[in-house]
């Protein structure tokens, strides 16, 4: 199966979504999504805008109620609880800081109605402020803070509630690139220090790969793949995942041998390609073969199991790497090589025929999304992707 | 009374003569009274109609009048006969007209002040002295309406019609027979919330003065103070302070209304049990008058209109419309006999002798307004 619908309960789980769905009018924003987030995990929901990741987060927070499915938090069914009765807290995309309150009143906001003893409240406020290093700015108002500082206030305000799960909705999206990189590291360290489970929504695959323990890739309201960053990158389960995470070449092919390795025939050139096994296919099935650009090499001898011939269309120097675009039949392959003097590709000239090759393990057989989703939902996916 | 128009009252004349809104065009009220032929040959005693008019008059005339105060046919008849275009604006009270004219409202030829207001307006210099040579029909006016204290020698005014300030009551809703101001005040607690009074200080304060046996025109602070106490006692029982009481009297929401006789004459069309009372203690009799505004752009047309309007048939026509008595001799010949004999329109001599004419002066006005403020604020 592509989407793991079964929920593993053998490890300590903090948050379990069981087949939740949510529609807005005719649009299925979230379509039977099931995930299980482990205790202390940094879990990311990754996908393009409109894929349903934010709606999923809002369902967990309680801002929306699911049409179907259940949500469990630390073993308790919270599906129908209002937001204020759930032990989850949210860091909003644009922080949603209260403009009429100072930093410290923002941070302690969630404790005021909790009948926390005054001394306890002071202590927790101090701790939260120092966690995000905002002691000096406690009397400022949000409008007097930089973006990064506002972001930290939002974090402290949520963390002071000691939630079971912290929800983060693209918390770094509003920051510039440099600050974003710095804050990523800070977030990661913070999460390790406080040990709270994070559910993190992002459309930035690099961010998800860097921060997450596990990633759930979503598109068109569906969960496409769940796994560690390495699993997602190295073994994308669908063409969409492969395309969305990093850069990938696709070759259209038909299964010839459904064994180990899987052998497919590339449709345009008729070349036989040996691919990594592990996907259930049947002979004659139409599939895509995904090969990462950095896994393609100039084929100089017979050392590689897969070799194709094509014409070099363009060469782009990107500093430490060089990108070549090669037309193989009707398909353009991108090849990415380290910029090294002795690399065989350095001798290629635009317009000449070149030979490309790759390992069997570098070629992944992917069942087309169409076949997973079926006709009706394909349209939905198209719509989503085009957004 | 002869057969009457069955159009609902509100559709005909929604607002009283002294109401707040200028009423829209009223439809003919006298549908069944026969076509009152109006023409020079039909008049007697010999009036001097168009023949007496100066050879040259202006081609338009601007009248500043109470709302709904002439028969709808009256202006068109004059317009046709004299080839003059008439326009009319309305005001809700004498004081309002005074304030507007004093503040410089220009372009009006004729205005219709009540007696005491003629005196004030004349003193303020906003009225033109009349040229009696152009108003030969003045000789038709009954002597009792001429040369009154507010305008000796009728230098500034010619009477239009006259009426009394009393009260009307629905004899089908009030069990007692009402005859006096004393009845009016005494029965208020019993019919609490069913009284209306005019939105005008002199009439209301004057009613209490008359009940107490004082002059309608008293300026004795002690007497005014006693009268004030009486009207303050009346206040909780008043439903509405308004000069537009016709509708609520007809519907029966109000049983008793302090108002002018013509208003009850109108109410009686739809509520035949509505009776008008000229209180036994006496009350105010007033005349409304035609006056020409100083600086009038069309003085000749204004004189011609005044003269023309004094014809008995025109007077009768208007009386049948507004139920206020006309002031010229021979009017009754043209009148519906029921109206001609109606004592609320034409009080008999012994009643008339007990009535007083308002005589305004600054103290008179100030005392009444102070009492009025107390009454309204209570």
């Amino acid at each position: 199966m592509i989407a793991p619908t079964e929920v593993t309960l053998n490890e300590a789980t903090d948050l379990v979504l069981g087949g939740i769905s949510k529609s807005f009018g005719d649009v299925r924003a979230v379509d039977s999504v099931s995930i299980a987030v482990r205790r202390g995990e940094f879990y990311s929901l990754l996908g393009p805008s409109g894929c349903g990741k934010t709606t999923t987060l809002r369902l967990i927070a309680g801002f929306e109620l699911p049409d179907a499915g259940t949500i469990e938090l630390a073993g308790e069914d919270i599906t129908h609880l209002p937001p204020n009765k759930r032990r989850v807290n949210t860091v909003f995309q644009h922080y949603a800081l209260f403009p009429h309150l100072t930093v410290q009143d923002n941070v302690s906001y969630g404790l005021r109605q909790e009948r926390v003893a005054r001394r306890d409240l002071e202590e927790r406020l101090e701790a939260a402020l120092s966690t995000v290093r905002l002691q000096e700015l406690r009397h400022r108002h949000p409008r007097e803070l930089s973006g990064g500082q506002q972001q930290r206030v939002a974090l402290a305000r949520a963390l002071i509630k000691e939630p079971t799960v912290l929800l983060l909705d693209e918390p770094l999206a509003a920051l510039d690139l440099k600050l974003r990189r710095a804050m990523q590291q800070e977030l990661k360290k913070l999460q390790e220090r406080v040990g709270i489970t994070f559910v993190y929504v992002t459309h930035d695959q690099q961010e998800a790969l860097t921060l997450s323990d596990r990633i759930a890739v979503m598109n068109g309201g569906r969960l496409l793949q769940e796994g560690t960053p390495e699993e997602i990158y190295e073994r994308p389960a669908t063409r969409f995942v492969a395309d969305f995470i990093g850069q990938t070449n696709f070759l259209e092919a038909e299964v010839e041998v459904a064994g180990s390795p899987i052998v497919v025939r590339e449709i345009a050139t008729g070349a036989l390609l040996r691919c990594a096994s592990g996907v259930a296919v049947r002979v004659g099935q139409k599939v895509s073969v995904a090969i990462r650009p950095e896994r393609i090499q100039p084929a100089t001898g017979d050392s590689l199991p897969n070799v194709v011939e094509g014409r070099l269309v363009a060469t782009t120097y990107l500093g430490d790497v060089v990108q070549y675009r090669v037309m193989v039949g009707a398909t353009e392959l991108t090849v990415q090589r380290q910029n090294e003097a002795e690399d065989a590709a350095r001798g290629w000239r635009t317009g000449e025929l070149v030979r490309l090759g790759w390992d069997e393990s570098s070629a992944l057989v992917l069942i087309d999304d169409e076949e997973i989703a079926g006709e009706e939902d394909r349209r939905l996916i198209d719509i989503r992707v085009s957004e | 009374m002869t057969e009457r128009d069955v159009t609902p009252a509100w559709a005909r004349r929604p607002v009283s003569r002294r109401g707040f809104l200028a009423a829209g065009a009223a439809v003919g009220l006298l549908a069944a009274c026969g076509e009152t032929e109006v023409g020079p040959q039909a008049t007697k005693p010999k009036p001097q109609g168009s023949s007496a008019a100066p050879t040259e008059i202006e081609d338009s005339l601007s009248i500043y009048n109470w709302a709904d105060y002439v028969h709808p046919k009256t202006y068109p008849q004059f317009e046709k006969e004299f080839d003059v275009k008439i326009t009319e604006d309305n005001y809700p009270s004498n004081e309002d007209a005074l304030a507007k004219l004093k503040a410089g409202a220009a372009g009006y030829d004729l205005v219709v002040p009540t007696g005491y207001m003629v005196e004030i307006m004349a003193a303020e210099g906003i009225l033109l002295e009349l040229d009696h040579a152009q108003i030969p029909n003045l000789s038709l006016v009954e002597p009792q309406f001429l040369d009154l204290s507010f305008d000796p020698g009728n230098r500034f005014s010619v009477p239009k019609d006259y009426g009394t300030t009393g009260y009307g009551y629905r004899s089908d809703l009030v069990k007692e027979e009402m005859k006096s101001w004393e009845d009016f005040y005494r029965l208020a607690p019993k019919y609490s919330g069913r009284y209306t009074v005019l939105d005008s200080p002199p009439e209301v304060v004057g009613s209490a003065l008359k009940m107490l046996g004082y002059s309608y025109n008293s300026i004795d602070p002690k007497e005014i103070s006693e009268a004030t106490d009486e009207i303050l006692k009346l206040k909780p029982h008043v439903r509405q302070i308004t000069s537009s009481m016709r509708e609520v009297m007809i519907s029966g929401e109000a049983y008793v209304s302090l108002t002018w006789n013509g208003e009850i004459g109108y109410v009686a069309l739809d509520a035949p049990k509505a009776l008008y009372v000229v209180p036994e203690e006496g009350t105010e009799v007033w005349t409304d008058n035609w006056s020409i505004v100083a600086g009038a752009p069309h003085p000749a047309a204004a004189h011609a209109f005044i003269n023309w309007a004094l014809q008995p048939k025109i007077q009768a026509q208007d009386t049948e419309y507004h139920y206020y008595g006309g002031v010229v001799q021979g009017e009754e010949e043209f009148l519906d006999p029921a109206i001609a004999k109606d004592p609320s329109v034409y009080p008999p001599e012994e009643v008339m002798s007990k009535l007083e004419v308002a005589q305004a002066n600054p103290d008179w006005t100030r005392l009444r307004n102070e009492a009025w403020t107390k009454f309204k604020a209570a």
Binding site: Y109 | P201, T242, P362, T373
Partner: protein, 283 residues
Amino acid sequence: MGEPRWLIAPAWLWMVTFFVAPLGFMVAFSLGVNEGFFTVKFGLHADQFQRLWDPLYLNIYKDTLVLASIGTVGCLLIGYPFAYFLATRTSKYRTLLFFLVIVPFWTSLLIRTYSWVLILNEQGPLSSFMQTVGLIDAPLDILYTKGAVLIGVIYDYLPLMVFPLYVAIERMDRSLIEASRDLGCSRWQTFRRVTLPLTFPGIMTGCLLTFIPMMGEYVVPTILGGAKTFLVGSLVSNEILTAIDWPFGAAVSMGLIAVMLVLIIVYLRVLGRRAEEGLGSVL
């Protein structure tokens, strides 16, 4: 330096013609004494203000303040939920609802007020409906009472309350409400701690915009109050048009202006810089 001064002359002319001069006339009249119809002796007489100090007139001011205060609170209590509803609808319904708020403004105030006479009449539709339903067992007796006046002023000035509130609520970031709920607050706590303080300038502006015209109201008490509810506006009208006592009428108006000035100063003090924002959003 700068632009030549004559450039602002039209603005000055306008101010002087329409504000300074009329106010000047009023001050002059209020310091005069009435010596007969339209005969005013000008000078520096305190007579009118001494007369104003009489409990009779002070009570009229008090009655007016009470009525305008209750009316304003009524507008707020009805207007706030309405504005909130309006501001949180999708744009399609919002346009329609806004239209419905504005349409009565195209009708004359007089006609809108008179229409309430028909509704509140003891033989009117509301009365018969309430009797049919069994809410009351005698005809509704509210027309020509203070209650009817309140209904009238609240109805007439409600839009002036709704607009600034709508602007304030609409401008508020919706995610703040979610943030508050997320941090453990109930709906009511969220309203009290977030929505209310953030829309406070709108509330103040709405109250000012409704309170001021209510203080000068005289049409509604005349029509719906049967002229029995006597407010400062009615007093001014009476003094000017009926009593023809312009000095005293001017003094009564000056008193009203003084009350308003105090209120506007309080408004500016409380809101500070946000006041401009609040009024600017509506005007």
